[in-house]
């Protein structure tokens, strides 16, 4: 697949009013999450209300980048043409030190993966989109 075709096929995140600041922060080199101004709950992905107390008052907060591995899978079947050339590849669930969990990829993991292993944030560009990935930390 040519670089152009691959970029054309990349399933880029759909930015909207709610998640726009999240992706803009990644473009600027920061991973952010939401914290409730009423109950201090922290969460991702971006929402309009706190899922714990339903308050619409919250702030964006910078993540430290420290995280741990909750679980991971390794794709051996391509569900989308963009990813077929990189099979097998991993997708992981990661928990930030501040609490929120997100879907990501683990990179630079030649030493293998184990649950609860410490990770650190590395922001990488994929088809021009800044993505939050993680490596053993």
């Amino acid at each position: 697949m040519s670089r152009d075709r691959a970029e054309a096929a990349f399933p880029a995140p759909q930015r909207n009013e709610t998640n726009g600041p999240y992706w803009q922060a990644l473009d600027a080199g920061r991973l952010v999450f939401q914290r409730c101004a009423a109950c201090a709950n922290a969460w991702l992905p971006p929402r309009t209300e706190c899922p714990r107390c339903l308050s619409p008052r919250w702030q964006w907060e910078n993540a430290s980048g420290a995280a741990k591995l909750v679980s991971w899978v390794v794709y051996h079947h391509g569900y989308h043409p963009y990813f077929e050339s990189r099979l097998p590849y991993n997708v992981a669930v990661v928990e930030l030190a501040e609490g929120p969990r997100l879907t990501s990829n683990i990179v630079e993991a030649a030493g293998g993966l184990r649950i609860d292993m410490p990770l650190e944030l590395i922001i990488q560009s994929e088809a021009g989109v800044a993505l939050p990935r993680f490596r053993p930390g």
């Binding site: 992905p45 679980s71 899978v73 989308h80 990829n105 989109v129």
Partner: protein, 376 residues
């Protein structure tokens, strides 16, 4: 209301590839068969509850189906809860019957993803597609990995589930896949999404199923043969997407199972045969833990050693389940539970007096549990 409502009839279409058939047509065939099984005239039906087709959801599908069947049901509509919906609809129908809102209910489901579109099962998970996160199997693989790493659950233990259920399906003349496997063949099965192999994954099937519900008293007056009493039911919702779920190895199947067993006045040890939603092998293992058949984390050893096979301590999915009979989401498990309680299953568990049936949907987001008793 324990035992006050019965399943009076069951019906289904052939399973597998049914090209050119609409879901309305498939639903009607299953309902026709279920009504004939119950010995009930269509015009006596005053409730029609349907799970919308997974691969092609449509607005007001319940009314579309009612029109095609010439019904003006008092209680009717569609309910979307993923794969948990069928048992939930049975429980809603039972409560409506108990409280005089209707008298004879049809609960049905049809879909044609095999010859139609599989998109619903292979689609991206929102913006996480940017990380390559696609497909239903991936979510279950994420749960399975955590279970394996946290508790030492092995691939061979998942394989034992596939071996047991595929063996039951091989005996079922109506099963879509009648090929038993050995543990060695399971080990050779290719990865789809590690840690799940092809043989951990259910079938994709066209087909439909339906059940007829009424009060125990109505069934007696209509002289319905071998009506199967509903002893208990319950629901539970885990709700969070996999990535946001705080604990990947426990689910609200604990809630649905406990609710259903409490209503039935039974404990897991009182259950003789189980029909457990087996979209993937890990789903069976985690559901059996949630229902209390095995302690949390001990589902792997519990499922190994032939315990789930016919003749074992807890025969599971005696018609082949989603892995072997048909991949359609869940109502076939209820039908096999009814056969077991009537005593006319192909792989019949001797003296079976109680059966638990699980339905679940999403990535173990939604749970619904049914407990059936021996036919009257």
């Amino acid at each position: 209301m324990r035992g006050n409502v019965v399943i009076a009839g069951v019906g289904h279409t052939p399973f597998g590839k049914l090209p050119g058939r609409s879901t309305v047509s498939l639903n009607i065939e299953a309902c026709r068969n279920a009504l004939a099984d119950a010995g009930v005239d269509k015009d006596a039906v005053d409730a029609l509850l349907v799970k919308p087709p997974t691969s092609n959801p449509q607005f007001m599908y319940g009314q579309t189906l009612a029109e095609a069947m010439g019904l003006q049901p008092r209680v009717g509509g569609a309910w979307d809860q993923g794969g948990a919906a069928n048992i939930s609809l049975i429980s809603f129908a039972a409560m409506a019957i108990e409280h005089g809102q209707c008298e004879i209910a049809l609960v049905c489901y049809a879909d044609n993803p095999r010859t139609g579109s599989r998109h619903a099962y292979e689609k991206a998970w929102g913006d996480d597609a940017a990380f390559g996160w696609f497909g239903v199997p991936a979510g279950y693989a994420m749960l399975a990995r955590r279970h394996m790493e946290q508790f030492g659950t092995t691939s061979d233990q998942l394989g034992a589930i596939a071996v047991a259920i595929r063996g039951h399906g091989a005996a079922n003349p109506n099963a879509q896949l009648r090929k038993p496997i050995t543990l060695e063949e399971y080990r050779q099965s290719p990865w789809v999404i590690d840690p799940l192999r092809r043989d951990d994954c259910c079938l994709v099937s066209d087909g439909a199923a339906a059940v007829v519900l009424m009060s125990r008293e109505r069934a007696r007056r209509l002289q319905v043969a071998r009506a199967v009493p509903i002893l208990g039911f319950g629901q539970g919702q885990s709700s969070w997407e996999v990535a946001q779920r705080s604990d990947l190895t426990s689910t609200a199947a604990e809630v649905s199972g406990a609710t259903a067993l409490k209503m039935a006045g039974l404990a897991a040890r009182d259950i003789d045969v189980a029909q457990i939603y087996d979209c993937f092998t890990i789903t069976v293992l985690m559901t059996l833990e949630a229902y209390g058949f095995a302690r949390r984390g001990e589902g792997g050893p519990f499922c190994a050693g032939g315990r789930l096979q016919a003749g074992g301590e807890l025969p599971v999915n005696t018609a082949g389940g989603l892995l072997s009979e048909t991949g359609m989401p869940g109502l076939q498990l209820v039908i096999e539970g009814v056969r077991q309680m009537r005593g006319d299953a192909v792989v019949q568990v001797a003296d079976a007096r109680t059966c638990i049936v699980s339905n679940q949907g999403g990535i173990m987001h939604t749970h619904s549990t049914l407990v059936l008793g021996q036919a009257l």
